[in-house]
Symmetry: C2
Subunit: 204 residues, 2 copies
Amino acid sequence: MVKMKITAEERNAQIVRVAMKLFSQKGFKGTTTREIAQKAGISEATIFKHFAKKDALYSAIIDKQCNDRKGESLLMKKLEGKEGKEVFKEIATFLIQTHQEDPTFLKLLMFSALEGHKLSDIFIRTRGMETLDYLAKHISKLISQGSFKKVNAPIAARAFLGMIIHYSMLQEIYGLKRFFKVPVKKVVDIFVDIFFEGMEARHA
Amino acid sequence: MVKMKITAEERNAQIVRVAMKLFSQKGFKGTTTREIAQKAGISEATIFKHFAKKDALYSAIIDKQCNDRKGESLLMKKLEGKEGKEVFKEIATFLIQTHQEDPTFLKLLMFSALEGHKLSDIFIRTRGMETLDYLAKHISKLISQGSFKKVNAPIAARAFLGMIIHYSMLQEIYGLKRFFKVPVKKVVDIFVDIFFEGMEARHA
DNA sequence: TCCTGTGGTGAGTAAGTGCTTACTATACAT
DNA sequence: ATGTATAGTAAGCACTTACTCACCACAGGA
């Protein structure tokens, strides 16, 4: 009996961490409170001391994900001073690399949408759309500057992000990375090249 | 007591139909055999007369999906005689429209990948990759004809398909169709335009 | 007429599931 | 040292899950 007593806050955070990992691997329904307890090295009852229902755990995760914008600010820092193709390359590389290193977020978002939880909506709208919104604005700017041709910016943003996210999904979730091994740089270069040239205003 | 007796084959198909719908809505784990039985208007025991385990039901669905190529041949028929941008427009329209009318397949594929079932691999490789393979070959042809510039064809195919599938996913699964209502034609035109112009060989 | 094969079920069962309760162990201010 | 709030748990409750089995209805050949 050398079970450590830690503060409620710490235990809280720990449970959320463990649960997040498991939910992203097996979904909400596929994860049992028993397994969360076991992986966290505590008893099941302790979980329910900290979270009234299994559902509350899920809410806490989404809440955390919605308020945690480390990734976003990291990307913004990388974008500073960049322009032209470099902006798009940076975004694409960042996303693909992030998903590659840790697909937790990607899977969590997919499970959340598929399982259709109450709070999944807000999760999707805040975290799923942030890059999309940024991109749409950036594209709008390039259009008004005359370097991009006049197309619906939100749709164009979805085109670009679609290439990237779908690529990551096939690689990480559908398991294609076992067969399709290409350096990130190469993929990014091709994606950005296609998109950029497809968007560039031609001076006929 | 007017329960109809139908042939085993028919009952079999009916159960698979009901199960497929439910699996696509709530996933394998999220669907109970009770609910399948109820929605099929039979007893739970009957399901197990026809399928040894719940798992066998899942396998039957994937098997059916892998052998059912109605969609593919329908698309191929639409592509006959088309060339240039029209080929891409036809593919994009077909996919987006199909997903819009009935997202069952799309959801089934996503759940299958996320839940990581044994047979999901073959499902993904046969049904998830078919259009991708076709596209890659078509792009290869256009490159060797000199109308597309020289880029890695499989990656380019993933770029194009990524735009489309990701668009469908956001609309149908992430629920964006509630906020983002744009005619299919408009979206397709933009996607194809970006991709096509991005791929075209420039004669400087 | 009886028999037999086929399609179908009511009533279970064992193994989980989320969640609760009655209780113990420990840190720490007094 | 002692009281108290806090962190934690063993055991188990009520319910659901996939799955089973003994049995029934009935069409059709003998």
